[in-house]
């Protein structure tokens, strides 16, 4: 192992402290008995218990989950099909460059621009149909739109990694299109599809901007709720809620790590 300069070690520890100090602060104040202010008044779990009596928070949690699950399922299906379509057919290079550019748009433009364009587009679609009132449906559409790109990119890199030999072997053994897809492609692609779906799910849970622009009064999600609460003035309940969300994130990250590393 290479010897490390003490300065590198020192900077690294300081950087990590810089990343975690604010989060630790939230966790500490979530178990502080003081109703307001930053003075330590003893240990308590009551703010956590109160979360489960707060209908708004429960509804926001439900909306968050619903939004993430529905959008992830749709985006994973559409993204996977799109990846196969883009990678496994003899497109002319102009066509495939064009498709590639469209696929990269959500990755390389600031999400606030996507959000703004969706607001305007939904505004015009509303003239045609009232389903496009700000609300959960709009949020789901918005999330799917950026998730598709990420799923397709992840699945496509898996397609490239698989190569063509297995497929050729299956064809040589007279596999039909359907058999090839079900028994050869999908099993081989599964790790990529799952990785793409997990990425899409986390992106949806993490998103604030798209939701903020497309949400209606009835479709609060947890990030929106916290944002609104902070502007009104933070309460210990918000600390407790945030700490819980952070814990869920930690569990998800560790699980994902385990899952992808053992593959």
């Amino acid at each position: 192992m290479r010897r490390q300069h003490p300065l590198i070690v020192a900077i690294s520890y300081l950087t990590m402290a810089f990343l975690y100090m604010p989060l630790a602060g939230v966790a500490i104040f979530s178990v502080n008995a003081a109703r307001r202010g930053m003075v330590w008044k003893g240990f308590t779990f009551k703010w956590y218990l109160k979360l489960f009596e707060n209908d708004w928070i429960l509804e926001a949690a439900w909306n968050t989950l619903l939004l993430a699950v529905i959008s992830t399922v749709v985006a994973t299906i559409l993204g996977t099909i799109l990846a196969i379509a883009m990678d496994r057919f003899p497109w002319r290079s102009r066509t495939s460059n064009f498709l590639d550019t469209i696929l990269h748009i959500p990755v390389i433009i600031p999400d606030i621009i996507l959000a703004a364009s969706l607001v305007v587009a939904f505004g015009l679609l509303r003239l045609a149909s009232s389903v496009f009132e700000p609300g959960l449906l709009n949020m789901i559409i918005g999330h799917i739109t950026f998730q598709i790109a990420f799923v397709a990119l992840v699945v496509r890199s898996r397609l490239v990694a698989i190569g063509r030999e297995v497929e050729e072997a299956a064809r040589d053994l007279f596999a039909t299109n359907w058999y090839l897809l079900r028994k050869v492609m999908l099993p081989l692609l599964m790790p990529g599809i799952i990785a793409g779906a997990m990425l899409a799910f986390t992106l949806s849970l993490d998103d604030f901007v798209i939701s903020f622009f497309t949400a209606g009064p009835e479709s609060q999600t947890l990030p929106l709720f916290i944002f609104a609460a902070v502007r009104r003035g933070v309460t210990p309940q918000i600390h407790a809620l945030s700490t819980l969300i952070m814990l869920v994130t930690v569990v998800l990250v560790v699980l994902t790590e385990r899952f992808t590393r053992h593959r």
């Binding site: 590198i8 900077i11 104040f29 930053m38 990755v107 305007v120 799917i144 739109t145 063509r164």
Partner: protein, 304 residues
């Protein structure tokens, strides 16, 4: 016989090009239809809306005008003001320095992690991944909490006379930078680490054997090798940093507005979609210019 109809083998299948393309188009349709309808079309609509007029109640009036862009450039009824241009410029500066500081902090951190023994290396890496996936609203408001007047940081700043006694350490530029850097640091660290982990140390040693200074060793032996990871990190940071509005909203206040806040304002309280669309175009152009400059400097870039 036409080339399109000739029989080819494709992935072991005996077929014609035409048949393949027909099947491919069928598979392409659902995903591309969605992206056209909800990504490309709304984008074009946004361009159109940026040149129409806002009605008295915030509705769109289809008279075409360049008024919104003129307003963004600072021309008002009462003469020229640099207000909006200042906000755009500030966003570029903030995004640039956020990226720069994140890169400067990421290099030592990556080398530190890469130098850990195998077991603890994954722990350290996980410790960087966790903030990466933690919701940014929570991470922004965590700073809001840490900088509040009763806690040591604000007290210390008050002691040195930077802020009045009993005031929080926000809203100001300093708080925005703290929030931005902590928000985007993992976005640089993670892709950069992928490159640092694969670093060929023989080249670094060769540079040292030839008496290269520390600086030259870095620029000639380390930087070129870590360029792929660095490029991804820089793009992942610079682009969203340009459009960021949560951090400046919570930690910057009205005095330190960024273009993200300005856009949000037009679609929120002001209800001025055409102007909001024009600002979005401005942001888009700035982002593209930033990426172009970087692309020219950094030669080859692979996104994802």
């Amino acid at each position: 016989m036409k080339r399109a109809d000739s029989v080819i083998t494709w992935y072991g299948e005996l077929t014609t090009r035409q048949q393949l393309l027909k099947r491919g188009a069928l598979l392409l349709t659902p995903g591309m239809f969605w992206l056209m309808l909800f990504l490309v079309l709304p984008g074009l609509v946004l361009v159109v809306v940026s040149v129409v007029t806002r009605g008295a109640y915030g509705q769109l009036e289809w008279t075409f005008t360049l008024e919104n862009y003129k307003r963004l450039a600072g021309y008002t009824l009462f003469g020229w003001t640099p207000d909006y241009l200042m906000i755009l410029w500030r966003s570029v500066v903030v995004a640039f320095f956020t990226t720069l500081v994140s890169v400067i902090l990421s290099y030592p951190l990556c080398f530190f992690i890469a130098g850990r023994p195998e077991r603890s290396r994954y722990m350290w890496l996980t410790l960087v991944i966790i903030p990466f996936w933690t919701n940014m609203v929570i991470r922004a408001y965590a700073w809001f909490l840490i900088l509040s007047p009763e806690l040591p940081f604000a007290r210390l700043a008050a002691m040195f006379g930077f802020i009045p006694d009993g005031a929080p350490l926000y809203p100001n530029a300093f708080a925005v930078y703290l929030g931005m850097v902590s928000m985007f640091l993992p976005f640089v660290t993670l892709p950069l680490y992928a490159s640092v982990e694969r670093l060929d140390w023989a080249l670094v040693e060769a540079a040292q054997d030839l008496y290269a200074s520390r600086f030259r060793t870095f620029t000639q032996a380390i930087l070129p090798q870590t360029m792929p990871g660095l490029s991804v990190g820089v793009i992942l940071t610079f682009v969203p940093a340009m459009g960021m509005f949560v951090v400046p909203d919570l930690l910057g206040g009205a005095k330190y507005m960024l273009v993200g806040n300005l856009i949000q304002q037009q679609f929120g309280t002001s209800r001025d979609w055409p102007f909001g669309a024009a600002i979005s175009m401005g942001l888009m152009v700035l982002t593209m210019i930033g990426l172009q400059i970087y692309r020219r400097k950094g030669k080859e870039i692979e996104v994802i």
